[in-house]
Amino acid sequence: MISQIGSIAISLAGGLIFSSFIFLCLYKLRNDKTYLDISERSILSTCYCIFLAFFCLLNELLISNFNLQYVAQYTSYETPTFYKVTALWAGQAGSLLFWSFITSLFTVIYIFETLKKMENLKFNSYLILTFIFSFFIILSSFIANPFEPVSSDIVVQNGNGLNPLLQNFFMAIHPPILYVGFTGCTIIFVMAMAASISKNVSFDWVRSIRRWSLIVWTFLSAGIILGGYWAYNELGWGGYWAWDPVENSSLMPWLTLTAFIHSSMIQEKRGMLKKWNILLATSTYLLVVLGTFITRSGVISSVHSFTAENLGPLFFTFLSVLILYTVFWFLRRKTYLETDDKIDSFTSREGGFLYNNLILILMCFTIMWGTLFPILSEAWDGEKIYVGQSYFNQLNVPIGLVLLFLMGIGPLLSWKSTSYKVLRKNFLIPMSTSFLVGSLYFIFSVKYNFYVLVAIMGVSFTLSSILGEYYKSLKKFRKRNSNIIIATYKMFMSNRHQNGGYLVHIGIVLLFIGFIGRAFESEKEFSLSPGEQIYFNNYIFKLNSIKSEARDNHYAFMSDIDVIDDKNKLLTNLKPEKRIYFYWNSDPEKRQPHSELDIYSTIQKDVYSIFSAYDAEKNLGYFKIMINPLVNWVWIGGILMVVGSLFAFWPNRIRR
């Protein structure tokens, strides 16, 4: 019954969105605002129908209604309730409905919050939203319907259950957070297009779209970092970023959105770069759609791909229409978007932002090129080419390092232009710190690496530059408040926007500290019997025992390893496991082996252990140990980025 309601709700949403289109046409023909209001109500009703369908699917997952194909495929009676909820986005059909659900949430907020103040954007916003909703409703109705019943000639006794790899808290929350970021880009696109078509790229518009961008950016960042955290803790290859096409698909819109957040500041301050900002805002969403096309079409091989239904041609058509629409209106509004004001000097704050924009776009383009190169090459001359991690690392590392320095240079520059005297004064401390720290590394490093040297100099330069800015602000506040805590609090609260931005930058610097650690990683693969030990990287790894037990949904081989440091002191005890899910299945192909890691994590380094295989006859375990320095700084940096961004998003209350 509930599933029928869900199915009807999706069909109803389709009818309502079609009626919205009709009323928008009538509004254009008769110029009667009533039609625009009806269209608005139709869109809102579409959103409410999608909410209803979403909750119906949630209900079916929770009650394990295996009469539905989707529920049977992604849950089982044994699936814990929490993961039954997360199964909503585990498969194609559910994730598409979830996508529409979040888009609907954002649309409701956009209509009630943003469009209330910007009536002029209504018509074009509704038109674009109608098109976007129509596409996703068609997908959910005809191509990947989550309410599709199982074949009538079978009875499902129990569902397949959720993939054990996905039964991890961070994996459970990573996709929805990333989806919130992706779908949020829809609103940014709609706002940018509606404003340029209706010639309303105003000061209020830029302020409003910047706030939307900040919140969307926060979710995108959090989603990307959580994905990395899950990969590191669950997948067992010891890294957090593999330059997989799907990972790249999330990074590309993040880069353009980051560029937009910076360049829109120039428009807010000086009314410049309207054209460029419209381009960045629209291309962010186009990159999201491109990423979705990559993920759901299977054109590029990726570990994350959904491949059951081939949505490639549909997404390609959708993307093509959006690109054509964007280009058409961009060219038509080119003159309107021109600004008279030009950049006076490149040694200015706006010049710094512009460099930052160029670097971010260069990075985005490099990643896009590497991601799409295999299909471009095959289409060009039929040659299948693999673009590996070395491409992305070799080309992005230098670009990233320039960006790192630019983050430190930006705050030292003044708006319009910076005199030589001011430049010298502002750069003195960061430059000296950078050279000092770089020299210390150069002299005392055991394992010298050029990129590490530049990264260390960049980290110290940027960190001292930002901390210097905080110190200057704090000095002003201390003149009025002798208490340092109150002065610091007031300083932070006085300009949340800027201080939040600086916090984000510190977060990124910490990320770079984590990246530096990758240059010093080491690993070893070995086999041990209980009682044996091995020496690696100044640690002794002693295998105490290997035990086994049958658990609820898997069979586990549990190792017990003592890690002893160079002072012969027990540092930690690691218990990596080898698990076999569905071990009761008579068909070996249906059993799923999985290595459950154990990590000893400190702020300096992680000792990462993987139990790879077990030879029962010889009672021999096969292990991989990795020593990963500074990884925790990546997570700390990620948290700081999110906190800083939320801080910047919050409106100012206390003004100086």
Binding site: Q69, Q73, Y74, S76, A90, G91, Q92, S152, D153, I154, V155, V156, Q157, N158, G159, N160, N163, L165, L166, L235, S301, V303, H304, S305, F306, T307, A308, K342, I343, D344, S345, F346, G351, L358, L362, T366, F373, S377, E383, K384, I385, Y386, V387, G388, S390, Y391, Q394, L395, E525, S527, K590, Q592, P593, H594, I610, S612, A613, D615, L620, Y622
Partner: protein, 135 residues
């Protein structure tokens, strides 16, 4: 030319240079690798130092050394053709008969010596329903 125009000109040169470089990445072995088909490899007379090959593991072809479980030989097939692969190291969890694999390494004397071995990750279940009863 004033300073702003010079800067724009320099930026333009850097971007164009970068794009030209990117269009030629195929020539750079350290950045890209060519995907070979098994058929292509069989027909190849010379050794190849850097290859990538995708296919499925030929059923019953996996041989694991008795002395060292990290050492394995297996065949990868595409349609009717297959090629022998040697791999030393920890094998992925999903390494079984008929699993879809991608190996990268070198090719010599009809043998691929793989440096990397990846299986298609089942991070999404898209399989058939398992516990069903026909009516």
């Amino acid at each position: 030319m004033n300073k702003v125009s010079t800067s724009i000109f320099l930026i333009f040169i850097v971007i164009v240079g970068w794009i030209v470089y990117l269009t030629n990445i195929k020539q750079d072995d350290s950045l890209t690798m060519k995907y070979y088909s098994v058929q292509e490899l069989i027909n190849k007379k010379s050794d190849i130092s850097n290859i990538k090959l995708g296919g499925n593991i030929k059923p019953n072809s996996i041989e694991i050394s008795e002395d060292d479980q990290l050492e394995a030989f297996f065949y990868v097939y595409q349609n009717q053709d297959s090629v022998k692969v040697y791999y030393y190291g920890i094998r992925p969890d999903l390494f079984t008969d008929d699993a879809e694999v991608v190996v990268s390494g070198s090719y010599s004397n009809n043998l691929i010596t793989a440096k990397e071995l990846q299986t298609k990750c089942a991070s999404r279940y898209e399989g058939d329903l398992k516990n069903v009863e026909k009516i």
